[in-house]
Amino acid sequence: MWDYTDKVKDHFLKPRNVGELEGANAVGETGSLSCGDALKLFLKVDENEKIVDATFMTFGCASAVASSSALTEIIKGMTLDEASKITNDDISDYLGGLPKEKMHCSVMGQSALKKAIADYRGIQILEKPGEMVCECFDVTDLEIIEAVKANS
């Protein structure tokens, strides 16, 4: 069984900011039913590109739920530029760490956030170099190689 920190458990059992957000002007979606994990992120962004509210809906394990909940807490009050620098490590750190097998659950948060920001700014996410290996999380083989290098 996973060794979840108290913070992870708390965010899983009492997730913050659940549900669709009325008046959201940016939405990011990642994952799918077939993968067993999916996250939909709703943002309300003001004219200064400040995130005034954020909510989520998640289908996934406890880490996925907790990561989504944590993400909304982290980014509320940030500008889009600040938020765009958030990585899955920030989410994991906020939660006091995730089991290594569960790090990918926090990647979903990072990915949904990127898509939401792109959605707000009305830009297509650029084609990335490399071969797409994971549609849901928008991951290429080159990124995996980079990640393995960075983690070792």
Partner: protein, 390 residues
């Protein structure tokens, strides 16, 4: 907190009667059964008794019983023995819903040892495609191995019919009866299998003890090579305490078999009915009739299994998603995938597996905990809206 234990297909409580039978053999009668002294010999006698009890349990002869260290060893041993018996035959058959002890071994034999493997598929109810099975039998087939009962869904394969057909072609037949033991009657003489695996910890004996039944006359070659134990068929000092416990557990399992098929089955059915009634978009995995009396695999659309389990765990309820052995992995269960259970419910499938220790009261506790848990998870699921899957 009160524990509601409904994970008996993963492992069971060691029965008090079994503990009592075992205890003196740790610190008091600890001799080696092979020794040339009365002190060791009394343990040997006790092991003979245990062997007889295990034999009685499945209507075998005592010398057809080989004690192993677990169901996995029994499975591995059976397959390797067959391959050694027929070194020229390079084709082996199994289903696509076996336990990893068979499934992973077959994959290994396919990838590393040049064997041609047929994984006979099951249908949506988890029932075996018998036509494909029989069509795949050939002169080149060394062994067919099929589980008696599936650990995740409880679905039963028609082992007796299959054994007859496979034997008629002169092909060895092994069945993994680890989940069948203690839940349905097993009579090896009637069923006519060549080899059969059991595991102690599924029938209220300790973990780490197994049985391989090998029919008299079936050519056998040992898997663990060492001393003369088990008549030279399995080296290693006997796990005396657990063997003695297993003997007692087999007696108890025979006693409890009627209960399993009445009271336990009723509890299972009660739980099933209540959950289907109270939780919309839920569905049972596997054939409703050809199924172990203690097992309920049930899927809840648009939610994910681990989250359900953790919410149940907070209420002291022990259940599982997929098999315990694969819970380290993040993939959906290969059994449910093989049955083409739709993704929307496969990911949210939970297995409840009961024993005669369970009570009706406990079933009510499960229902009371599960209904709000699923509701809560659906509230945050992006695939659930207005009471249905989107």
């Amino acid at each position: 907190m009160r524990i509601v234990y409904t994970d008996n297909n993963a492992t069971t409580k060691v029965a008090d009667e079994v503990i009592e039978e075992m205890l003196p053999y740790f610190g008091q009668f600890y001799g080696n059964p092979s020794s040339m002294h009365t002190f060791g010999d009394q343990v040997d006698k006790k092991i003979k008794q245990a062997r007889q009890r295990v034999a009685n349990f499945i209507n075998a002869d005592p010398n057809e019983i080989i004690f192993t260290s677990c169901g996995t060893e029994s499975d591995n041993c059976a397959i390797y023995s067959a391959l050694n018996a027929f070194p020229e035959k390079k084709h082996i058959i199994t289903s696509n819903v076996e336990h990893p002890a068979i499934n992973k071994l077959y994959q290994h034999l396919q990838k590393k040892k040049g064997y041609e493997v047929t994984f006979v598929p099951v249908d949506k109810k988890g029932l075996l495609n018998l036509d494909l099975l029989y069509d795949s039998l050939s002169d080149n087939t060394a062994i067919v191995s099929l589980m008696w009962a599936n650990n995740e869904t409880g679905v039963l394969f028609p082992i007796e019919d299959i054994a007859k057909k496979v034997n008629k072609k002169g092909i060895l037949f092994h069945t993994d009866a680890v989940q069948a033991g203690g839940k349905v009657p097993i009579d090896v003489k009637q069923v006519g299998v060549d080899m059969l695996s059991l595991s102690g910890h599924k029938i209220h004996a300790p973990k780490g003890i197994g049985v391989l039944y090998v029919k008299k006359g079936v050519k056998f070659s040992p898997f663990l090579i060492g001393g003369h134990q088990e008549e030279g068929r399995r080296g290693g000092t006997e796990n005396t305490v657990s063997i003695i416990g297993l003997g007692r557990a087999c007696e108890l399992a025979t006693e409890h078999l009627p209960v399993m098929n009445t009271r336990v089955r009723e509890l299972r059915d009660y739980l099933q009915t209540r959950l289907l009634e109270k939780i919309p978009c839920s569905s049972v995995n596997g054939d409703l009739d050809l199924r172990l009396p203690n097992t309920l695999s049930i899927g809840f659309d648009a939610v994910e299994g681990e989250s359900i389990l953790l919410l149940l765990d907070r209420e002291g309820i022990c259940a599982s998603s997929g098999s315990a052995c694969t819970s380290g992995s993040l993939d959906p269960s290969h059994v449910l995938m093989a049955m083409e259970v739709p993704f929307k419910s496969a990911h949210g499938s939970i297995r409840f597996s009961l024993s005669h220790y369970n009570t009706k009261d406990e079933m009510d506790i499960i229902v009371s905990a599960l209904v709000p848990a699923i509701e809560k998870l659906r509230e945050m699921s992006p695939f659930w809206k207005d009471g249905k899957v989107v």
